[in-house]
């Protein structure tokens, strides 16, 4: 993936800029957007607890990568919404922020360089098709993160002056 820091910096910038347009979008909800941008990478738990191990222990098919798709991220967002108080406004706002944050991550990762020239089944379960990728960067590249940091820095300063 674009490394996680780049994802979170971009989410910070996008949601802070959106806060200028939507008065309800305060820093608590910018935080929710940033948390949303981390959701798809929860599949990295596979590094500690591989899916194949889960399959062996429980005797069921299992793949953490499902989290890094539209369907998996959506379900994770629903769980995330349950973490906040059952006030309709709070939950609706958190749903919106987690969703857009998660979607931004999925989109940016669909641009990663892959030797097959195709990304991953980002739209699953709607379709399993892995779209072609322009292969812009690797998750181990530091340049996208630097660009994201500069973008976030500019927005931070603009926000400081705006408020």
């Amino acid at each position: 993936m674009t490394d996680l820091l780049a994802h979170v910096l971009i989410a910070y910038a996008v949601f802070t800029a959106a806060s200028w347009r939507y008065s309800w979008l305060n820093q608590s909800y910018v935080t929710a957007g940033m948390a949303g941008a981390m959701i798809p990478d929860m599949m990295k738990i596979a590094l500690i607890l591989p899916g194949s191990k889960v399959e062996q222990v429980f005797g069921i098919p299992f793949d953490w990568e499902a989290i890094h798709t539209l369907g998996g991220t959506f379900l994770s967002v629903l769980v995330g919404v349950l973490v906040v108080i059952p006030d309709p406004d709070t939950r609706k706002r958190v749903f919106i922020c987690l969703s857009f944050g998660g979607a931004s991550h999925l989109f940016l990762d669909a641009l990663l360089a892959k030797p097959s020239g195709h990304s991953y089944p980002v739209f699953w379960p709607v379709t399993r098709y892995s779209p072609p990728t322009p292969g812009l960067y690797l998750s181990t590249d530091w340049l996208p993160t630097l660009i994201a940091a500069i973008f976030a820095g500019v927005i931070y300063l603009a926000n400081y002056r705006y408020s």
Binding site: L5, G51, W64, V84, D87, K114, P115, W124, R128
Partner: protein, 148 residues
């Protein structure tokens, strides 16, 4: 996750077999194109230690790569699966030495930042059993900002 786990590789939708597929059923994929990754353990011949979470990492020989790659580098290969645990390269990405560590460290920093922000901007509400947005962030309260 369980449903996704039942899916098998499908070239038509560009879901080539990957590390786990080759580790568990190598012979089934001979003649197909696969996308696999891991660390280089030797360079002549080029041998990949293919990452597999369910057991020992299989060693796969990579043929047809004409560039430079040194031991210890992380690589991702797209190529044709051949007999005797050999893959013929169609395309390959070599990840810089520092790249993997960089990714871990920045991800950790990102996680800490978001966790810090959650603690700063949200507080647990025990009546309603959930997190509630703070009007003033924890940092602002400590600084003595008022609620006006």
């Amino acid at each position: 996750m369980i449903w996704f786990g039942t899916l098998s590789p499908d070239q038509g939708t560009w879901n080539p077999p990957k590390n786990n597929d080759l580790a568990e059923n190598y012979d089934e994929y001979i003649g197909e194109n696969a996308e696999i990754g891991g660390n280089v353990v030797s360079t002549e011949p080029l041998v990949l230690d293919m990452i597999y979470g369910g057991g020992k990492n299989p060693k796969i020989t990579i043929e047809g790569y004409e560039g430079e790659v040194s031991e210890g580098r992380r690589i991702v290969v797209y190529g044709e699966v051949k007999k005797d645990k050999t893959v013929e390269v169609i395309d390959m990405i070599v990840i810089p030495q520092t790249g993997v560590w960089y990714a871990y460290i920045t991800s950790f920093v990102a996680g800490l930042w978001v966790l810090g922000r959650i603690l700063n901007h949200w507080k647990p509400n025990t009546d309603l059993w959930g997190l509630k947005p703070r009007k003033l962030s924890w940092i602002e309260i400590r600084r003595g900002d008022s609620d006006d």
